[in-house]
Symmetry: C2
Subunit: 216 residues, 2 copies
């Protein structure tokens, strides 16, 4: 049983979806700057015309991939974030599902990462800026799911970190890290993936000061 089945299939029926998947794969493999529209078209077995019919520019395509990546995260975690739970248990749940999503939608999440990087570097034109700011805002809202749980857990004496902003940054680096080095091996089982997820989440929660007994 896949952990995130229907999320990935969110827009499967849209004609744009196939292009998004190809673009995500290309951007993941070579990065935004080194990926040409022709690369994406070649992967689709099509030509530029198809892509420019659905997207106005390379940046537009990129932001669409970013948006879809963030949407998958939101759709998956929002209901969990709204549950009434003990804060540390909720943080563990959110972190676990986040890492699962990183593995399940790796290409898209890599694009999200690069989008944040591009934003931090300010490598955007003025018009792009506005669209980009909206995307980053979406990401901020997502981050808030975790931040609230972190603050609540700290207030309850279940976590122990100094600066929330730093703690949040470092925690996300940990949880996002598999998008860089994880490659699914042939013959890999769900149990293998789950073991990976568990180790990453354990590392993150301990890093935030959770005691061992409380996160197992």
């Amino acid at each position: 049983m896949d952990t995130v089945p229907d999320i990935v299939a969110l827009n499967e029926h849209e004609p744009r979806f196939e292009i998004l998947e190809a673009a995500a794969a290309c951007f993941e493999a070579r990065g935004f700057a080194s990926t040409s529209i022709d690369d994406v078209a070649r992967r689709l077995g099509s030509t530029k015309g198809r892509i420019y019919h659905h997207f106005s520019s390379k940046t537009d395509l990129f932001t669409a991939v970013y948006r879809h990546g963030m949407e998958m995260l939101h759709v998956h975690l929002q209901p969990l974030a709204e549950r009434e739970m003990e804060p540390l248990a909720k943080l563990k749940l959110l972190a676990t599902e986040h890492v699962r999503m990183m593995l399940a939608t790796r290409a898209f999440q890599r694009v999200v990462w690069e989008g944040v990087e591009l934003h931090l570097r300010g490598a955007t034109t003025p018009e792009q800026r506005e669209a980009f700011d909206a995307l980053i805002a979406t990401r901020e809202r997502y981050s808030a799911y975790f931040r609230q749980a972190e603050e609540a857990a700290k207030a309850a004496g279940l976590l122990d970190y100094e600066n929330l902003s730093i703690a949040n940054q470092v925690m996300f680096m940990t949880l996002n890290s598999p998008i860089f080095w994880y490659k699914p091996r042939p013959g890999e089982t769900d149990a293998d993936r789950e073991a990976l997820v568990r180790q990453i989440v354990t590392y993150a929660l301990r890093g935030l000061g959770a005691r061992k007994e409380l996160i197992e």
Copy 2:
């Protein structure tokens, strides 16, 4: 002749050094693919001619920046790694100095990061491949400083992680993370930076299963 090439720190007064610094700043700001040789030249107040007189290609320039970044790390940490110390204390020392270097030589370390990324993506031509492999090997040797300390500390019951490879990956992501989000603020003091370093190192060591009392 040793199989391990000697690490020779680059002299500040070499004519190539100024170019390396400008290149590192440009690569940090825009990434390898989006940085043109003219960009680097413009930052230097020079023209291409100067750069191509000292470096045979854009890739050659990039690898030189990478190499210098790794050399600075090696020169700084190698003597520490060779000390006889309690493993956990040594790991803490190495981690602390590593993070300090991330802040102090951020632009170069960002290039090292991108170099590893490019290597993981296999985005290199056959000739580049050889030079790249040598660079990655240097990075592997550096990583071994930490790995040995981690293994020794675990054997002594001072750490508690499942898989060494995963633990190492996630730990480095944590320690490297400030190259992405750290920006020196005006009026920032050494104490501010040290507080940042301490929080990151604490997070990393706790993540690996170190008990709170043992790392303070």
